[in-house]
């Protein structure tokens, strides 16, 4: 009898164990299914925030791509003593096609673009009063990234025919599956510039005047000013710079004084930031700090040759410091400092250069703009007779030193790097080897 009962119990146990099959339906906890990601307008907005976090990736606006560009453009004003071979290659102007930082810039760039393409694809669920803002920010991100990719991976605008030189692939739709169409060929340099300008122009029109630390009208116009300057379209550059300065001023932005306050050792944006990548102790990264600061890796030291460029009394000299016998630049000493991507000062410099070249005074006289920059750093204002393109470019170089512009300025100004010509293929990133492996429609850059 007992055994019968036992047998029945065991049978019951077995049968109940068999009903475990529903236990195979498990669900992730930190992630959700893609199809559930865009149910409400709020979902779309948080996806946009997610796109900013990818924009701030280490190899993108987190700073490494700018440090790499600075190393490519510099010869003896700095010395490099780091062990990241990816950057050693930059300093030596000998980039390898498997450089993982180069591949990372490409991947991070298109990841951010895919993020915003997803957002743009779901604008229909966004509340009407937020639609423009969401669309504007998305296009700001896409246009900015396309511009930064094309000027690193393609020939300079002024090098031959941008209408036939290969740029980078233009991606305007979100990825839902990987198929043959995922192998997108490179668009021409001109086509990428056109797309970037279209995105940013649209962004400028749709973005709000004031938008916290997210992109606003001023940021979009500033990025446009950079693009127009890079392609030598000075009239549009001056106009865009003026718009950006005007929006920024209306938002209460101004040049920090003293100069060092533009690079604070604290959290958050300064009143000079037109657009900055947000870094906090729990998210984001500032790779300018990683490589330039003695408190970081301290891989990049500043040589006397650079310091000799400054006039005596220049407040910008105050930012250089000696540690253990080497000189470092103090713009990036706070590990959780924001990446000051576009400072208001840059727009005065763009406008001054553009106006000076054209002989115009769109927004302001070039002399006034230059002296705004000079007076802030305790230098005597230039007289009109002292104003020259060289003086403007020198001011630009010193004001924006080590902030990631050196390579792109050298190219547009057709200045050689040592014996290397400004349009040498060595100064263009290679298309990453991994991309060539998986995309038969890509072509490698000359020289690689």
């Amino acid at each position: 009898m007992t055994r019968k009962i036992i047998n029945i119990l065991l049978l019951t146990a077995t049968i109940s164990a068999l009903s475990c099959s529903k236990e195979l339906d498990t669900t992730p906890t930190q992630s959700i299914d893609t199809k559930d990601a865009f149910k409400t307008g709020k979902d779309v907005e948080v996806a946009l925030v997610g796109a900013y976090s990818h924009l701030g990736a280490s190899n993108l606006y987190g700073g490494t791509m700018f440090v790499a560009a600075d190393l490519l453009a510099n010869t003896t004003e700095i010395s490099w003593s780091g062990t990241f071979e990816q950057l050693t290659q930059m300093k030596n102007k000998a980039i390898l096609i498997d450089n993982s930082f180069v591949a990372g810039t490409w991947l991070s760039g298109y990841t951010a673009i895919n993020d915003v393409n997803n957002v743009l694809n779901h604008l229909d669920v966004v509340a009407d009063d937020k639609k423009n803002k969401v669309e504007g920010e998305s296009k700001f991100i896409r246009g900015s990234v396309l511009f930064d990719l094309v000027r690193l991976f393609g020939k300079a605008w002024n090098d031959g025919d941008p209408g036939s030189n290969a740029g980078v692939p233009i991606i305007l739709t979100p990825t839902v599956e990987i198929n043959a169409e995922s192998q997108v060929p490179r668009a021409t340099v001109a086509a990428v510039y056109t797309q970037a300008i279209a995105d940013l122009t649209d962004a400028e029109s749709k973005l709000p005047d004031e938008n916290g630390f997210f992109a606003d009208k001023s940021a979009a116009a500033a990025m446009l000013a950079r693009i127009y300057l890079q392609k030598g379209d000075y009239a549009n550059a001056a106009a865009a710079a003026t718009r950006s300065i005007d929006y920024a001023s209306a938002n209460g932005k101004f040049l920090m004084n003293p100069y060092a306050d533009a690079f604070p050792l604290t959290d958050g944006n300064t009143d000079e930031d037109v657009f900055a990548i947000q870094v906090t102790s729990s998210s984001g990264t500032n790779d300018f700090q990683t490589y330039y600061s003695a408190d970081g890796r301290g891989d990049i030291q500043i040589e006397q040759e650079h310091l000799d460029l400054y006039e005596a009394g220049d407040a910008r000299l105050d930012l250089f410091y000696n540690s253990g016998g080497s000189i470092y630049i103090g713009k990036f000493d706070y590990i959780y400092g924001n990446v000051h991507l576009i400072r208001l000062a840059e727009l005065y410099l763009i406008r001054a250069e553009a106006n000076f070249r054209l002989g115009t005074a769109n927004g302001a006289e070039p002399l006034d703009d230059i002296n705004v920059i000079r007076e802030r750093v305790n230098l005597t204002p230039l007289g009109s007779e002292e104003l020259s393109l060289d003086a403007i470019l020198k001011e630009r170089k010193l004001e924006l030193a080590f902030e990631g512009n050196a390579l792109h300025d050298a190219k547009r100004l057709e200045q050689n790097v040592g014996l290397i010509s400004w349009n040498d293929p060595k100064l263009v990133f290679p298309i990453p080897q991994r991309e060539l492996r998986v995309n038969a429609n890509l072509t490698q850059n000359p020289g690689y």
Binding site: A17, L18, T29, T34, V49, S81, K91, D115, S182, Q183
Partner: protein, 1034 residues
């Protein structure tokens, strides 16, 4: 009348019964070697039914039928012995055989007699394992089993160990075998937070293990279905035995050292060498047009370099006289004692058997700041409740604390100390503190002195402890439903709770990047539950048909939750808990789970003791797979023929046993991320304090099992009175539908996707030869050789080349081959690093001209981390009470890539890292022929990945040596001790290798993966251990 008949029948029956009772045979069984009593041996009447086992004193008493003329004595680890019954008091001496065919081997959901096994199973017993002075048991099976390649990543304690059973079968999914302890699959995944994997298997007390069986071929493993592709390791813990209760006490203590060291420049060589590098760089700068004259360039570079020498000399000019000459490598190592204490109790009677044990292991690592302590407890109980019901449990508890160091790729890992300059003093004379601790100018730690962060600062000013509490156990019930029919239900739990806590003091700021201390606390809680419910049926028909069937179901579910909190800004280094952190920089928690539901069936049939057939199948479902392909079926079949039972071999006296066997079956692999088939958005896109989500995975609802088709043929034979035993296996394993992490175009916004693409093959040969070379009364010498050759080849990857660094997965090659530029030494004309072009010419041959343009040269296969073959050779000698066991182990035909070479063997052209001695051969002047390019500071002359950093990784090791003395019985009687054994034991005593690094058995922990193997990156060498110990039996 009826009563009469009944009475008559009763009388007849009783008489028959009385007649059948026959006679009583008694006797004593002893070990032929030392005369000690053998307890628990089975004594069976040959051609009869009577059976018993010997008691603790080796004695037995058996009633046998009158027609029984002989007894069969069987005992695990001993030869079967047939003895004629002569007289009633027998004295029987049986001899040991390390590979006895009567041995019982554990198979999935049951056991089998070895001679009936048709699959391929390697077994390592307690004898080989006990008291091995290592942290985890896998180290103890290295070299002991054919077809099982064991590689320890490095010499950090409790570190990950890779095991490949018959080669790697997967590119992107798991390649480690399934581990099953007493029937329950256990947790094996590393839970480490610092990129240096730990090994949850090290929670198991080696001395608790009775045997380890490794199921190698498809027929043996297929009963574990979807997780059997990489083999299955079955661990069986010790049980109590019938007889007097026993107490065993063990202790050993000793010390450990690194197995090898590298040679670096001394102070004078360092200064000379980097001065040369400065001149080399100046020359390049001049050529690039940065300077007007070469003299200017040299003057500038020398001034820079000399200022660096002064900095690294702690701000003085001692470097000019080599007054300070620090051997930093020595500073990274420490004295490393090891001790282990064991106690176990066991015993039992017909109803209840028990085994209880406790262990304490206290081990220091060979590298500074590394130590490991572990407590283990175990209680295994089996109880027969009724004739038809027995129940039992196997419960163990472990608590370990591993004081760990950073992963190999961190400045703070002790071995990276070799990068520091020999001109740098250990104590900075300016401060009286360790170099790097204090910059008097700022009051903070130095930011650029010494050349890199000094790992010694971490020794006293940081801590990183991994604390594990583990409960592993199961309960079972066996119900005899009918004759031969048993139902077994098992329920197992593996609960692993781990915390990791770290504090990095303010003096480590240069390493952590934060000035006032930082720390984190992480917690992982894993619960793995498993139930197996199955019936076993065994029956013999007409004496010649033996069938044995097992069928049932299994369900496993593992859930895990983890959390992490991180803080910075501590009031002082006296405060080390996050409670004191002013800034809480990170807090996260997560959870995950997976489940498997399986049904299995296995049937064995044996005819006439000669012909063997086994069929098995498993139907597996897993939560990991796409909705379209959730279940898979994994069948296998095998046959065997015991030729030695055939008439035509009956008279071949020198042949004791011969079996040929063959098997074929399918196994699966589902070791991928828990949600790999889904399209995912993840909520980790926070930006500037605002929450964000972002796409993280593209869906693949068709994702399914990776399947391996395995084929195995082999034979087992023993000759010359079982003094020579041979086992040979040839196998082929073809894996299809590889679970591949496929690269996709980056323009999609993703870098890879899991897809079922590709095929790879393993084929190989393995053999084991066991010999009894000498067997006299006092002296015995036995040997065992195992040899395994495996050829791994990827046949289809859809044209892709996968792998992040030098190791690649590539069609036509073994998984993980080193695929990079082929280095051609220094250009005799100018000292440039040269590479062979290796481009394909129009005639199809490779262009062997050299170039200094790295981009122009093509990658070629320059080596493989996978050995062509590996082997073990053990010899055991015993003379009276002394025994000596020597195990040699080796691998042959693999290469090692020194990933640290780009810094330490870099022609001084990639930073001020101290250089290995061989860099002195750098190109110096036109015409020099050398493999070391010119020294050019920061010019990365030949430092990019290439065959420059490949070397032969073959080695032969004296893996384990034990010399022991067993006290003779006469002495033991006086001191009233059953057994006493004193021994000295060495592990990794001696290594023969061409490898110039620390140790050729290496796999840089931070990068180790299926593809990336055999890379040395400042990896701690293996441990050379010598211990003295004793074990006492009371």
């Amino acid at each position: 009348m009826r009563k009469t008949i009944a009475l008559l029948l009763a009388v007849i029956f009783t008489a028959t019964a009385a007649f059948a009772q026959g006679r009583v045979v008694t006797g004593k069984i002893t070990d032929a070697k030392d005369g000690s009593a053998v307890a628990g041996a089975t004594v069976k009447a040959r051609n009869g039914k009577a059976i018993t086992s010997t008691s603790a004193d080796g004695k037995f008493s058996l009633k046998v039928e009158d027609n029984v003329k002989e007894l069969v004595i069987t005992y695990v680890g001993y030869n079967d012995f047939i003895v004629a019954i002569t007289g009633n008091e027998l004295s029987i001496a049986i001899s040991q055989n390390s590979q006895s065919l009567s041995e019982v081997v554990v198979v999935g959901y049951g056991t089998k007699i070895k001679k009936d096994v048709t699959g391929s199973i390697a077994k390592v017993g307690a004898k080989e394992l006990t008291n091995t002075p290592v942290t985890s048991f896998e180290s103890a099976i290295q070299g002991r089993a054919s077809g099982v390649l064991v590689q320890q990543q490095n010499g950090k304690l409790g570190q990950g160990i890779n095991i490949r059973v018959r080669g790697a079968s997967s590119v992107s999914a798991g390649n480690e075998p399934l581990y099953v302890v007493d029937g329950i699959p256990v947790i094996t995944a590393s839970l480490s937070s610092n990129g240096s994997p730990t090994n949850p298997l090290s929670d198991i007390n080696i001395n608790d293990i009775e045997s380890i069986e490794i199921l190698k071929d498809a027929s043996a493993a297929a009963i574990y279905g979807s997780r059997a592709s990489n083999g299955v390791v079955l661990i069986t813990t010790k049980k109590g035995k019938n007889g007097t209760s026993k107490i065993d006490i063990g202790y050993f203590t000793g010390s450990q050292k690194p197995t090898g060291k590298r040679e670096f420049l001394n102070a004078t060589q360092f200064v000379d060498y980097f001065s040369r590098a400065a001149v080399g760089a100046a020359h390049q700068d001049f050529l690039a047009g940065y300077y007007d004259t070469e003299e200017d360039a040299i003057a500038d570079w020398m001034s820079y370099t000399e200022s660096r020498f002064t900095r690294y000399s702690a701000g003085n000019e001692d470097w000019k006289t080599a007054k300070v000459n620090t051997d930093w490598q020595e500073q990274g190592f420490q004295k490393a004692p090891i001790s282990q204490y064991d106690v176990s109790l066991s015993g039992g009677n017909d109803k209840t058997k028990f085994f209880a044990s406790g262990q304490y292991l206290d081990q220091d690592g060979i590298i500074v700041r590394n130590s490991y302590k572990r407590y283990n407890g175990r209680l295994n109980v089996d109880h027969k409740v009724k004739d038809w019901l027995s129940v039992g449990m196997n419960m163990s508890f472990a608590r370990s604390q591993n004081n760990r160091v950073s992963n190999d790729n961190a400045f703070s890992t002790p071995i990276q100390i070799v990068a520091l300059s020999p001109i740098t003093p250990i104590i900075d004379p300016r401060t009286g503190l360790p170099s790097g601790a204090l910059d008097l100018a700022t009051g903070n730690p130095n930011t650029n002195f010494p050349v890199y962060y000094n790992p010694l600062l971490s020794v006293d000013n940081s801590s990183y402890a991994t604390l594990v509490n583990r409960m592993l156990g199961n309960v079972y019930a066996n119900v005899n439903l009918a004759k031969g029919l048993v139902f077994r239900s098992e329920f197992g739990v593996d609960q692993l709770n781990q915390t990791e806590e770290a504090y990095y003091g303010s003096v480590t700021a240069r390493n952590t990047g934060v000035p006032n201390g930082s720390g984190f606390f992480s917690s992982d809680q894993l619960l793995n539950i498993n139930t197996n419910n199955f019936v076993q049926y065994a029956k013999t028909f007409k004496d010649v048909h033996v069938i044995d069937v097992v069928g049932g179901m299994s369900f496993q579910k593992q859930t895990s939750t983890s959390s992490l909190a991180e803080g910075e800004e501590f009031p002082s280094d006296a405060y080390k808990k996050l409670a004191s952190a002013a800034s809480k920089v990170d807090a996260t928690s997560s959870a995950s789970e997976f489940s498997f539901l399986s049904y299995f069936l296995r049937a064995n049939y044996k005819f006439n003791n000669k012909y063997l057939l086994a069929l098995s199948g498993r139907y597996d479902g897993s939560s990991r797979f796409g909705a379209n392909n959730r279940y898979g079926f994994f069948p296998a079949a095998s046959v065997g023929w015991i030729l030695s039972e055939e008439k035509f071999l009956e008279n071949v006296k020198w042949l004791n046993f011969l079996k040929v066997k063959g098997s074929y079956g399918l196994t699966g692999n589902g070791e991928i991320a828990n949600f790999a088939s889904r399209g995912l958005y993840t909520g980790d896109g926070a930006y500037g304090g605002q929450a964000g989500q972002r796409p993280t995975q593209i869906p693949n609802p068709d994702l399914k099992w990776e399947t391996t088709k395995g084929f195995d043929v082999g034979f087992e034979a023993s000759f010359f009175n079982n003094r020579l035993g041979i086992e040979v296996d040839y196998y082929e394993r073809k894996t299809q539908d590889l679970l591949l992490d496929v690269e996709v175009p980056g323009t999609s916004g993703f870098s890879s996707q899991f897809r079922n693409i590709g095929n790879l093959n393993n084929k190989g040969l393995e053999f084991t030869v066991n010999t009894t070379n000498i067997n006299t009364k006092n002296f015995r010498w036995t040997s065992s050789i195992n040899f395994s050759a495996n050829k791994n080849k990827i046949t289809n990857l859809d044209g892709q080349v996968l792998g992040g660094d030098v190791n690649k997965a590539k069609e036509g090659e073994a998984l993980g081959v080193f695929f990079t530029r082929e280095f051609a030494g220094a250009d005799p004309a100018n000292g440039d690093a040269l590479y062979y072009l290796n481009t394909t010419k129009s005639d199809g041959t490779l262009d062997r001209t050299t170039t200094n343009d790295y981009n122009a040269a093509q990658d070629v296969v320059v080596g493989s981390p996978v050995p062509d073959f590996f082997y073990g050779f053990s010899n055991t000698f015993s003379y009276k009470g002394i025994d000596l066991d020597v195990l040699l182990q080796g691998v042959q035909g693999n290469e090692v890539f020194n990933g640290g070479g780009q810094f330490m063997s870099a022609s001084g052209s990639n930073g001020f890292d101290n250089q290995t001695l061989d860099q002195l051969a750098a190109w110096d002047k036109p015409g020099d022929i050398t493999m070391v390019p010119e020294a050019r500071m920061f010019y990365a002359n030949g430092t990019n990945n290439s065959s420059r950093y490949i070397s032969d990784g073959s080695y032969l090791r004296v893996k384990a040596v034990t010399l022991a003395y067993n006290l003779p019985a006469s002495v033991l009687k006086k001191v009233k001790i059953e057994r006493a054994r004193f021994y000295v034991r060495a592990q990794n005593l001696f290594t023969i290798t061409n490898y110039k690094g620390w140790d050729p058995e290496v796999n840089a922990d931070y990068s180790a993966s299926n593809i990336t193997q055999g890379v040395d990156f400042y990896s701690a060498p293996q441990l050379k251990t010598i211990v003295f110990g004793f074990s006492l039996g009371l």
